[in-house]
């Protein structure tokens, strides 16, 4: 986000009241009465060129959110507005005829590089898949484009990789291929779902660097989903913390890390081990583990584990986001007392 921009630029992605409920099946002939509230009313924006980190523990709804943004899942409620210049669409209402156009603008990088490539298809098949299914270019043109992309993601000499199968690549190389596939259509927005969590430390850094570098060069925005706050620190301009389907805190990365306001963010941060034995962490204040939000009560989602829970939290519905700093919001009634 540039400082001199006089008016607020139109966000690339604008999410409002997004919800996704998964029914718990009760058998063939009975209507489900219980729902997992995987994502339960979240709002956020991503500016063009910005990267937003979505962090939280497993089951908090971060992956579900990501999958709704790329239309792998349809939301139960709410809207996801995607604007790219003149192109403006509500993701949930992209019709059959418009889907290919949408797919060329919004892409995804998956977590497991061992599962995100079909073992029977070569690197060329994998990277050129978006071109092939959308009928872009002739075969030699696609080949040239794939070579270009492989070069771009650092798989050089590119023609040595073109006709390799996934099992002939290392984990880091596979993830580079996955990045090439995501970028082959020149998208504006990429959802990256834990793209480095399966990789070894030394390889992780080069993939992170590659992704940051490409984002800058190609003007791509990421929604970077991760459970690892340390990775998010290096990848994202802003961080949004999710807990049981709700967003509990969002703000500029360094601000959230240095000055967390929501009790959950504080617990999460103090639980992260530090690679320096001379630093002693502050003890984690909360108890228990995350469970599933099945037909949750209306009050604050975090109330049972919260060390600061008070009357106000019990008597009111789940708190709205309160502004706690510049661009920094937290959903807690007791921000000022903590």
């Amino acid at each position: 986000m540039t400082a001199e921009a006089p008016v607020k630029t139109k966000p690339l992605v604008d999410v409002k009241g997004l919800r996704k409920l998964f029914p718990i099946s009760r058998g063939l002939f009975r209507a489900p009465t219980d729902f997992v509230h995987a994502v339960d009313g979240i709002d956020f924006e991503i500016a063009p060129g910005e990267s937003l980190g979505l962090v939280g523990e497993s089951g908090c709804g971060k992956s579900t959110t990501g999958r709704m943004l790329v239309k792998l899942l349809d939301p139960t409620e709410g809207q996801i507005k995607f604007s790219d210049g003149d192109y403006e669409k509500d993701v949930a209402r992209v019709g059959r005829s418009e889907i290919k156009d949408f797919r060329s603008r919004v892409q995804m990088i998956f977590q497991d590089p061992y599962e995100s490539m079909n073992p029977r298809r070569t690197v060329f098949d994998t990277v050129s898949e978006p071109l092939a299914v959308q009928g872009v270019g002739t075969v030699p043109e696609r080949e040239e484009r794939v070579l270009e992309l492989l070069h771009l993601v650092g798989l050089t000499p590119a023609e040595n990789f073109l006709f390799r199968y996934p099992h002939e690549l290392s984990g880091g190389q596979r993830q580079r291929v996955a990045i090439a596939r995501a970028l082959v259509m020149n998208p504006r927005f990429v959802v990256a779902d834990e793209p480095t969590s399966m990789l070894d430390v030394s390889i992780r850094i080069s993939i992170m660097e590659l992704m940051t570098d490409l984002a800058e060069r190609l003007g791509v925005s990421y929604l970077y989903i991760t459970h690892d706050l340390a990775v998010a620190r290096y990848m994202c301009d802003r961080i949004a913390v999710m807990y049981l389907g709700k967003m509990v805190e969002v703000g500029p990365t360094e601000d959230v890390l240095a000055n967390p306001r929501h009790p959950y963010t504080r617990a999460l941060l103090s639980a992260v081990p530090v690679p320096d034995p001379s630093i002693k962490r502050t003890p984690v204040e909360i108890k228990g583990g995350i469970s599933k939000a099945i037909n949750p009560a209306p009050e604050c989602r975090f109330i049972e584990r919260c060390p600061f829970a008070a009357e106000v939290c019990r008597e009111n519905p789940h708190p709205e986001m309160f502004e706690v700093g510049d661009q920094h919001f937290a959903a807690c009634y007791r921000i000022n007392e903590i």
């Binding site: 070894d200 030394s202 706050l229 992260v272 081990p273 530090v274 690679p275 320096d276 034995p277 001379s278």
Partner: protein, 346 residues
Amino acid sequence: MTLSLENLQTRRIDPDKPLLEVDDLVMHYKIKIGEVSAVDNVTFTIHQGEAVGLVGESGCGKTSTALSLLRLLPANAEYISGQIRLNGEDLLRLDEEEMRERRWKDIAMVFQGAMNSWNPVYRVGDQIREVLDTHYRGEMDIDEQDRHIASLFSAVGLPPEMADRYPHEFSGGMRQRAVIAMALACSPELIIADEPTTALDVIVQDQILKELKRIQAELGMSILYISHDIAVIAEVTDSLGVMYAGKLVEYGPTAVVFARPRHPYAYLLLRSTPSITGPRRKLAPLEGEPPDLVHPPTGCRFHPRCPFATEKCVAEEPPLEEIAEGHRVACWHYDQVPELDMELVR
């Protein structure tokens, strides 16, 4: 027979007395295309009451080393040389029956993903009882067993009545606690914890690591932690060994190694680990890929990826040399490895 955790609490610990000494261990896996040199000349000592960590990337031989200690290697593995001495007794010379005796009583193991290894059709308490039945046949009656299981559960922070529940009624973190309770069942002197928290979320990981640390201190046990996560190792260990391509490349007190790693690999590993505390350091990527262990590189196995490598590194293998009290490094150029700088980003 009175087996109880109280007995353990009075176990005398002499921190200078070695509990487990691994001496020049060499282990290969035979595969179709040759032999994988999985563990090569690994030497380290775990003292009584000490927490030692082995850290390294996947395929570096840390899990193979752990399995070697318990002699739980797959059939195609072969010990080439070396000794593994537990209280002075070479485990590699024991027959299978004697080794089985040692396995739960003296050394217990918390496996990677062990929390998913509970048999879903038996109560958790009964699965621990099975271990007691095997190792203390006829020495404990049911009431003693129940009391012991209850004390194990409270030792790992689980309500004792949970012993009557089935595994699916436990959350991931609780299951891992129960795994630790089972490892404690025969009050071993050493627990090998192979990636004990890898599949867990940070908050639960924090709880489990704290529990392990507390148990270790209270019961005077030694723990060998195996992990790819150097942040975890930094927090829970007294000493650590860094492994690369089957070799132990650096070993020393955790605080010393983290303050000034001397092996280029250890240095780069630390430089490439992001942290949420402190200023935002620039991360250094480690170029290249780990080597093929069927045909490991000549000389120092790290030389193809090492920024300090010279011709000597290609030709000669550096020995694991003691450069300071208890701090050993296998590198010809350890004195060239700079201090961890604090170069900031942006």
